[in-house]
Amino acid sequence: MSSTEQGTSSAAPAEPTTAPESAAAPEVPESFYYVHGKDKVVHKVSAGALQHSALIHGMISNLGYTEEQAKANPFPFENIDGDILQMVVDWCNQHKGKPTPPEDTNLPKQKEKLFDLVLAVNYLEIKELLTYCCKQVAMMVKGKSPEEIREIWMIPTDAEDEAAEKEAKKRAGKEAAGETAAAAGDAK
């Protein structure tokens, strides 16, 4: 509601003005779409908020869904956890129709979710949020030693990499042998 603080007036109020107000353009009602993640919880999001996601924006730009059609056909993102999708939707809503500032204080803070969040944001092609998330990932190792970096970014040592490679080769060899044996069995 708007309000007016009454000021000092020395004369009686006159008749309200009859001057015409310039014709305002009719407002176009905002359209909404629905998305859900792995947990099937459906989130209602405005088309304006979804513009942040190049992937979704591309999907909806030519659909012309009515409200009912949109509700009946939520976009499924089965590869994204429900809580992660919620974070992304919240961020999109907070930044609807606004340019994103260089430092975003609305960035989701949960470090334990950062990995999944980055993957989701990358998949949904939300460029600004991706930059913020990547900045957070990069900031994790500021001023750290290689040993600490290895721990923070879960980097295997050369020996561990070599062992894993050997293991993978061994497994691949076994699988190939199994397939050959199966093929020979089939041939008989």
Binding site: T4, E5, G7, T8, S9, L130, W153, I155, D161
Partner: protein, 620 residues
Amino acid sequence: MPIALLKFPTDLLREVFKLCDPFELYKLSKCSKRTQKSITLGGAKDWKISFYGGNEMLISVDYSYYYFNQAMNPEDYFQTNLGGYTNHMFIEFPVEGGFDLFVYLTNTFGIRTIKSLQMMYGSFANVSKVAKFSIERNMETESFGIGFAQDVQDVVNFMPMLSQMNITQLLECSLMFPPDFHFEFVKYPSQICIRNSSWFNINQLQDCTSAEVRLYDSILSNQDLNAFLQTWKNAGAFPNLRLLLIQSRKIDNQSPILGMIPPIVNVNNPRIRVLVHGYDDIINAVRVTKEDGTIGWLKVELGIYASLEFLIYCLSKCSKRVRKSITWRGPRNWKIRHGKSKTTWVRCGEDQYVFKHTINPDEYYKTSLWPYSAIFSNIQPLSMFVDIAERGDLFNYLLDTFKITIVELLDNCDEDIEFLRQTSSIAIDKNMEVEQVNLYDLKNPRGRDAVDFMSVMNQLKITQSFYCCIEFPSNFQHQFTTYPNEICVLNSTWFKIGQLLNCTCVKIELIGSVLRNQDFDVFFKKWKKTGTYPNLRWLKIASKKIDNQSTILEIVPPITNANNPLIEASFGYNDSFEISKAVRITKDDGTEGWLKVELGNWPKLKFLVVKPESVNVTNT
């Protein structure tokens, strides 16, 4: 909380690595072979590397410098001193020294450019190996310097390799070579600076394609320099040359150079300054003209350190080719405007340059400090006389040569509305941004000229402000198609309510208005609605038609509230406004505005929209 970085897809890894500085990526490369490899997957970087022969390597990232220094003790490994622009990290240097580290860093970071390679300290072999590596990898070396070598013969043996290097900007050499040393350049960087240059003979000077040549301790004689300058005078010769400085013990007063016996000076000529890579000045020089009209300034002094200085001035006027090459540098953030006395001004950041026509050829390209203060700046401008007579031609010449896209100011202060129309048309045709338009009320206030110009003005892309104090005829009408940030209209009878309702300005000032209480009531009712006038911060209207006969937002003027404080708000560049004893009105979305309407001989309305971050409140 750890995060499995290497499980990221490559494009994401690249995004993360882009945000890391050289020290972080170096430490990451030391985590494992796999991480080192994954850094290179991020693609080549436009970082540059420098090596001076010692136990230090420098990586430049834009204007930040990252020094990798040799740590004396293992406990110092990866210790960093961060200083904003200059940063140091202590590391374990490879056993083989600088060369191995150079290879490691260029390979890991995908660096392709050597900013500076200098033989200054340490082992010459290391620098030589880096040079060889740069040839094999086809790397660009911006600057190469030979300053020190324990054994000069090492450098003599190295010199053929120098011909194969891709040195683009500067070659510096201060080494004293043996008397029989001889070297032929295959190609020249844009600058050469050679001390002990007795081996650099006239044939090399005649072949040199550099823009700047500095030779010290030379043995070039008057005859050599005369021959060189005679060649230079031919059209098309030495198109790149901007500066020649030769210090030679063989320059004397026994034979002429371009028909003049040294010393060659002209005490009547002014200081000529030419911008090459920094500033170089020449004072009291003699003007020398090339066949194609290019002008050079020559000065030869005798004494123990006899020297010849030669500057080619006013680059764009050197030749069509040179002018074209200036435009290759692409658009600049320079701005252009006209000034009084038929001058044209170019602004480059804080610096301003005044171009003024002269009919006296002896004055062409003379520069001096502009005697009057400049608008928009405290720095005194530099002025130069030019040979382009028509201001329109000069305007076009500067626009095209410097690729200027912004007109800082258009005005009619010189009473030449035809010229204003002409330059406005150029700005429209070239789709230029015009920051300000000022129309002063001059001798011909009611003439058709100003009225006609308003239709041209509507096509201009005015971004910052429009100031107009012309008293137009009473039947004059004008509709803006777009609005700049600010408008200030004196004699504003033609600015009607319809325009005010559509105005998108941040700041509006209308003096001599005929708007009435009813108009303002309509305006403020519209303002109160969410989403209207999102830019508006300041409105000031002086109108004789404001009275106490009808209400504005249901209040009869005067509209004041003595209990309300002084509100000061700042916004934009250097702009601040205050309003006291005003009445608060609130928009539907909660935005606050402060309104004050005063009656009397000069009724006026002031309205300030405040945002919390820009407001000071003082109780009065």
